[in-house]
């Protein structure tokens, strides 16, 4: 459990972060969404003390983070940034080993951990491990950045627009991978994004920030169905509310008995993907892989709170 207690950061008259309190359950993902300049990065950097707060404090599993040296705290918290920040003079393997080396892990333990992480992120240890960052594609750099942050099994993972530099196709893939990894490892993640769709897709709870303050903190369904302010409603985007809502529901939840013709939907599909396929194939219902079907009526019923 991570607690942010009345955190503030003021630059002269500017309240970059203004009295923010949040808690993040162990094993859950919290997304901070907001427009540019709303204080998201500042809030994130207050958590690992890259910035010291004007007021308030942070607790990490019950411990006040002010009670330990900053660099020690940071070794317990993974940090992923948009431009990766990979060390250009080190190989991929050496980059990933950064924190384990700082912590003085034995060599073979580090080597095994690096391999494990490369595999976890679908990177081949033999070919990618010895490469230098400039020999990687953008998507590979991003994954190495995540692997490096996860290396020492951090108690919390901070991610500042981690997919911001990726093209839409890669971004979708990276989001799916992150969700899968998070579920495998049970990581606790605080993720900053300006993309509401990304926040809804990836997180258990969303904090909407505006001018340094949290306007609403709730589950994605709550944010979609009961936006607390006009700002939150604008950010959700009225035009796509139903699709966003459907994207939260697994297609299997809406499955019914019976058969249908057409291309079967994968069992991992969301309701929004099911509706998209249905409209595209102009079908009343589509079969679900492994049995059952999904009907248009069920989807339309599910598309609002």
């Amino acid at each position: 459990m991570i607690g942010l207690h009345n955190l503030s950061k003021h630059y002269d008259d500017l309240r970059a972060v203004d009295d923010v309190s949040l808690s993040i359950e162990t094993g859950s993902v919290v997304a901070i969404v907001g427009t540019s300049g709303s204080g998201k990065s500042t809030l994130l950097r207050l958590v690992n003390r890259l910035i010291e707060p004007t007021a308030g404090h942070v607790t990490l599993n019950g411990q006040d983070t002010r009670d330990m040296p900053a660099f020690e705290l940071r070794r317990r918290i993974g940090y992923v940034i948009q431009d990766h920040g990979l060390f250009p003079h080190w190989t991929v393997a050496r980059n990933i080993a950064t924190v384990p080396r700082l912590l003085g892990w034995p060599k073979d333990k580090i080597r095994a951990r690096v391999e494990e992480l490369l595999r976890l992120l679908s990177l081949d240890p033999a070919t990618i491990g010895p490469r230098f960052p400039h020999q990687l594609s953008g998507g590979q750099m991003q994954r190495v950045g995540v692997a490096r942050a996860l290396a020492a099994r951090p108690e919390l993972l901070l991610m500042d627009e981690p997919f911001g530099a990726l093209d839409p196709v890669l971004r979708g893939k990276a989001q799916a991978d992150l969700r899968a990894i998070q579920q495998t490892l049970g990581s606790t993640i605080l993720l900053v994004t300006h993309d509401m769709a990304e926040a809804i897709r990836l997180s258990d709870r969303v904090a909407v920030m505006r001018a340094g303050r949290v306007e609403q903190f709730g589950t994605p369904a709550e944010i979609l169905s009961r936006p607390a302010t006009a700002f939150v409603r604008d950010l959700v985007g009225e035009g796509e509310r139903a699709f966003r809502f459907l994207s939260l529901i697994p297609a299997t939840d809406l499955a019914e008995e019976g058969a249908a013709s057409g291309q079967p939907l994968p069992r991992t599909a969301t309701a929004s993907e099911a509706l998209d396929a249905l409209i595209w194939q102009n079908a009343e219902a589509l079969p679900l892989e492994g049995g059952g079907r999904i009907s248009r009526a069920a989807l339309l019923r599910a598309g609002h709170p």
Binding site: E72, R74, R75, G85, F87, P88, H89, V99, L102, H134
Partner: protein, 373 residues
């Protein structure tokens, strides 16, 4: 364009000039005006034509350009030695044979050709060091053919002092270089971290740089003279208003600006996201400096160091004016006696030393482990 590339064509001009202008000059004594001697006149037409043929073959774009150019340079140098001996045979005892404009122009063209042929092969660092050693060896052999060339006659008359001055020159240049690196890199790191210090320090260093070198040597005579007179043991340690100490201090001061500037520039060039990541990963300040910032800044710092090394080898000649010794001794003696050969005896080794230092330093930079490929 198939036979010779553009460079070959451009270099043909100085090479032709090398044949058209006097190859050597014969002077009745050390400081008299020379009488021009042309290549065909010295060796006869058939031999001159043979030489021209090799030179022209080296201009051609072919896989043989490198060996031919090397052969041509060595041959050209040997030719001067042989020619000098021929001319000296029929001349009076005090007569001197010195290189002429044609020799110099031809040499420049052939050396450039050789350098280009070498650069195209992109030799590995170790190979470059080996080539440098080979060059020194060949040069030592070829210079044996030069006993009648005036520069070597000046050398023969000063064999012992030449090597002593050489040692002093190297000590001056390397000593001030090492001191500047040891002081300049930490200074650069300090002003990069403390922006308040940046402007004042840079202003002082730039001001020093604008003082003409001779004036700076002069300015140092007073304070160091005072130190020698008033600090116990200073004089015994070789510190005084003239001699090595002020020369070392002056060269050190000149060297600081490039080292500090490049250290700051190198550190500034570390990408912000990399610094942010290093901090975010939990590297302590010293670890960040030693493991991330310095390794990334190193190539830029070394570029500055290389400039300083070459600059100091050249500037060290001026140290002779205040009794520091070095190759400058011969340059200034030669100027005083209007003996051009003596000036060359100081200038040519200085150029060679600067060149060798550059080759060695570049090779060492490339040999550094863990550099970004």
């Amino acid at each position: 364009m198939r036979y010779a590339d553009r460079l070959g064509l451009v270099l043909a001009l100085p090479l032709i000039a090398g044949f058209a202008l006097p190859f050597a000059g014969l002077r009745p004594n050390r400081i008299a005006a020379p009488v021009a001697e042309w290549l065909p006149h010295i060796f006869g037409w058939p031999a001159a034509a043979g030489v021209a043929l090799v030179a022209v073959a080296a201009l051609a774009r072919s896989p043989l350009r490198l060996p031919l150019a090397a052969l041509a340079v060595a041959g050209w140098l040997a030719l001067l030695g042989l020619g000098a001996s021929r001319l000296a045979e029929d001349a009076p005892a005090y007569a001197r044979v010195s290189p002429g404009a044609g020799f110099w122009l031809g040499l420049v063209a052939l050396v450039l050709l050789l350098a280009d042929a070498l650069a195209r092969r992109k030799p590995a660092p170790v190979a470059r060091l080996a080539l440098l050693a080979a060059t020194v060896a060949v040069l030592a052999l070829v210079l044996r053919l030069w006993p009648d060339v005036s520069v070597l006659q000046e050398y023969a008359a000063r064999r012992a002092s030449f090597w002593a001055e050489a040692q002093r020159h190297v000590a001056l240049a390397l000593g001030s270089f090492a001191a500047a690196v040891v002081a300049g890199v930490p200074l650069g790191i300090a002003i990069q971290r403390t922006p308040r210090l940046h402007l004042p320090v840079m202003n002082v260093l730039t001001a020093i740089q604008t003082v003409p070198s001779i004036a700076l040597f002069g300015l140092l005579i007073l304070p160091l003279g005072w130190v020698a007179a008033n600090v116990p043991g200073a004089r015994a340690a070789g510190i005084g208003g003239i001699g090595m100490a002020p020369a070392l201090v002056a060269l050190f001061l000149y060297a600081l600006l490039p080292i500090v500037t490049n250290t700051v520039a190198g550190l500034r060039a570390v990408p912000p996201s990399v610094s942010e990541a290093a901090r975010g990963m939990g590297l302590a300040p010293r670890q960040r400096l030693l493991r991330v910032d310095m390794p990334l800044a190193l190539p830029v710092i070394l570029t500055g160091a290389r400039i300083v090394l070459v600059q100091n080898i050249g500037l060290a000649t001026i140290g002779a004016l205040i009794g520091a010794g070095g190759f400058g001794t011969f340059v200034f003696q030669g100027l005083g006696q209007t003996a051009p050969d003596l000036i060359l005896l100081g200038a040519l080794p200085t150029v060679a030393l600067a060149f060798a230092a550059q080759v060695i330093f570049d090779a060492l930079i490339d040999l550094l482990p863990g550099r970004r490929p």
